[in-house]
Symmetry: C2
Subunit: 302 residues, 2 copies
Amino acid sequence: MQKRIDLNLQKYIQRRRQMIDRALERWVPGEHEFPPQIHQAMRYSLFAGGKRIRPILTLAAAEAVGGRAVDALPLACSLELIHTYSLIHDDLPAMDNDDLRRGKPTSHKIFGEALAILTGDALLSEAFYLMSRPDLMKKVSSHRRLRAISQVARAAGSLGMVGGQAMDILSQGKGMEKHLLEYIHSHKTGALIAAAVSAGAIVGGASAREYRALNGYGEKLGLAFQIIDDLLDVHGEVRKLGKAVRKDQIQKKATYPAFFGVSDSRRQADCLVQEALAYLKPLNWRANPLREIAQFILTRSN
Amino acid sequence: MQKRIDLNLQKYIQRRRQMIDRALERWVPGEHEFPPQIHQAMRYSLFAGGKRIRPILTLAAAEAVGGRAVDALPLACSLELIHTYSLIHDDLPAMDNDDLRRGKPTSHKIFGEALAILTGDALLSEAFYLMSRPDLMKKVSSHRRLRAISQVARAAGSLGMVGGQAMDILSQGKGMEKHLLEYIHSHKTGALIAAAVSAGAIVGGASAREYRALNGYGEKLGLAFQIIDDLLDVHGEVRKLGKAVRKDQIQKKATYPAFFGVSDSRRQADCLVQEALAYLKPLNWRANPLREIAQFILTRSN
């Protein structure tokens, strides 16, 4: 039984990835558009083999409340654009100084620092353009689109992802406290994952009750996701992850394994996924992909 | 007569600046908000004495078509946030490497490069949050708000401001061509100024005819603004401008004075302002502030 579900989930994820990749291909300016250098750099990072977890969550959340995936597609793509921008900036020499990402040289290694900074900036603006384009998402009310934009914008900013990243960098090498560790994880990664789910729910037409359920699911899942990321940094292989491992330890980063130990961190991730699943109880079979994605995130190896 | 108009314009600009500063003070997260470092850095650059030209244009454009300035205020502030983010990133060592901006040390000089990058990122996200916040701009239809967001997002991205900045950096020290010079100027600075006007017009309730008039005005004015900026770099004083002068020449930047000479550049700026004013012909007295701002931009000394 487990096997069949896994197989279906794999198919589901594969189909969604294709849908997202095709949409990104169509909607992001082509490499021939002027200035070609910046569009090449945008596409280099965008099509570097990302897992598309955030946009898949957006589509699954929209469908969980009875919406159509296709209507949430621009929003879903915008979350991948924001995720990609954040990776490019995080990898910069002034930040984490990473040479490798998804198995390929990082943006600044190929295009230089100045263009990497600008490419991140461009992807972030492009995300909001995609969410607001007048020729897309015509089946979704302007009111719901605005609400989704505000969710994503807040999650991306200083009270969300950027705030988490700032504290991650500012706290390197310093003594950690539990509440700070939680803050960093729930904001650096958790905020955008939660927004991917809740904005998808809004655009899918969620009722207030459905929205609360999905919002709770997204928050728990987002934190679990980052804890698993920390664990993979300890145990993972460069080959599978496509990025340097054990860098957290070298950079003296605030991580769950460093603070709680490996087995307790895994236990916490387990718990969070169970809590995420509990939030989905009020939802019917349409939320099954979200249920399976939560399990999948817990057992992922890259 | 000229004197009276100048005096009125000064008063108009002063009142609008106060309105914008108070709104930014209220809407941008306070320095006590966690993480304080990033909010301090955001506010450091935001309240460093900017002239607020873009948000003033937004308010004036909304009023030119019969809208109320107060209804366009969040949009106006968001344009100042985007402008400020672009300055912080442009000043980075990997970009223009400037130590001084508006007479004060640049963001990375005070907060370090990593935080300066993140502060720019945060300001850009905050801009889109401000435009989409559910508790603001309630008198403006969601449809018009979405249209304004898409205008601003496109103007800020790779086909607008970031594209211009990318070409500005990539073309440093290389031979210039006229069309490239025009591209850089109309995109690096012009795109956001044009969007400030046209998004203001949309939110103010512009008809299609009014929108076309204001859009034309904004495009011409945006290019004129950057030419004047180039001229100020040649002739200006550090004291007045609050930033290093003659850097364009040192960095072998593509500028109008370098390509066309000083007097021809000034003539072109004059022409562009006349063209901008001609676009406003179909509009009544409500567009007077826009008319006077165009003259003011031509004669500014900082």
